[in-house]
Amino acid sequence: MAYSNKVIDHYNHPRNVGSLDKSDPNVGTGMVGAPECGDVMKLQVKVNPETGVIEDAKFKTFGCGSAIASSSLATEWLRGKTVDEALAIKNTDIVTELSLPPVKIHCSVLAEDAIKAAITDYKKKANPIPAEAARV
């Protein structure tokens, strides 16, 4: 199968590889996928609590070239977006940008899931459900 030039570029020069401090209250971590399925993505965002803007995004991915490219692209797109703008990123945007073939669409779905999981994690940390309320 031939890869698009953009996939190859992200694979050869992955953007924003790394990890942020999981315990930082401003950092949201999303980990999706499973080793036995052949792909696991870890995506992290660091949000400015004042502005709601994502100041940093990092990823690490176990998966095929398209999975690596999808998550690398996601971190590029996340930086500078507000949390709400980030939630509007759709897997189809990634498919279009990277020209992913049909068999690789699940890589883009996984990237979208990773974004959502990271932001959900951040929101949980930023607005912890009070113990009282949780019980109700």
Partner: protein, 404 residues
Amino acid sequence: MKLPIYMDNHATTPVDPRVFEAMRPYLTNVFGNSASRNHSFGWEAEEAVEKARKQVASLIGATSKEIVFTSGATESDNLALKGVAEMYAEKGNHIITAATEHKAILDTCKRLEKHGTRVTYLSVQQNGLVDLDQLRGAITDKTVLISIMHANNEIGVLQPIREIGRIARERGVLLHTDGTQAVGKVPVNVLDDNIDLMSISAHKMYGPKGVGALYVRRRNPRVQLTAQMDGGGHERGMRSGTLNVPGIVGLGEACALAQVEMPAESKRLAFLRDKLKERLLNSLDEVYINGTLEHRLPNNLNISFAYVEGESLLMGINEIAVSSGSACTSATLEPSYVLKALGAGDDLAHSSIRFGLGRFNTEEEVDYVAGKVIEVVKKLRELSPLYEMFKEGIDLTKVQWTAH
């Protein structure tokens, strides 16, 4: 050294130039139909076919009348299984095979099951070999055939064919073996190994694609087959169709070369394979060899680089042609069923690479491949959340994954 490097010789091999030269006249001037009995064109073709038949027979310890030419090992497998099932239907309807066989066997068995044949699929041990006690226990008075491959196409392990043949013989059951990967690479002798039927392919041993053979034993016992292709009754009625004379000449020449060169070649390939293995094992942690090293083709190395996905590794070594058991590289999007059968876990199947060394690989190429693979595995592990977790001491089997 030229790039790209071909190291996928279990998939196919290049035609040896000497094989091509042997074939050349039969692709041009000597074009007769070997079944034409009344002119010199036919006689010349027939002579070439009979010479090739002897060359094939000689390599495996058979007689030339026991060689049936086919279009390749898939056809040979089909003919052996379907031909025996049909011919011996009155004696019994049970076939025993193994979970790690090639699809040409497994899918043929599935079709036979639809027509009333009962098939036992033996599991394999973690080293990739069938358990002989399990095999003995699976034989019933309805068993007509055992079909176990000689060498596995993914992990290169050599099944204990001689012992399996002895068991089959004791119980009066026929033994078919898919010899596609073994013939021409390791010594195979149908008499010593008690093999009754064996599939052979030309293009796995430096011959052309589209030609193969089925060995069909003529004595002790005389094996009979129901033909699966109707027509002019070629190949003693077992396989109709005008013979592929140039292809058959190529197969014969490939067998003759293998017979002469096998001792030196297998030693050289084992040296290169071991060098590759040592370099990878010495430079990388968390590397697992799939299948036993003790009983293995000299040219095969199947290895899993934990926490690195196979297709992404192939992408990084794109000037080296090898295969992966990763789901992403298969048409079915399932990881290798052979590796899954070893019980090592799907994650290691996703991380596996098959190196298949061949006659034309050089030591310089092996050095380059080792260096490149090490470099790319290290790079991808920098990217791998699983490797990071492993390094942090997290037990990945205890993590709650979100399977998708």
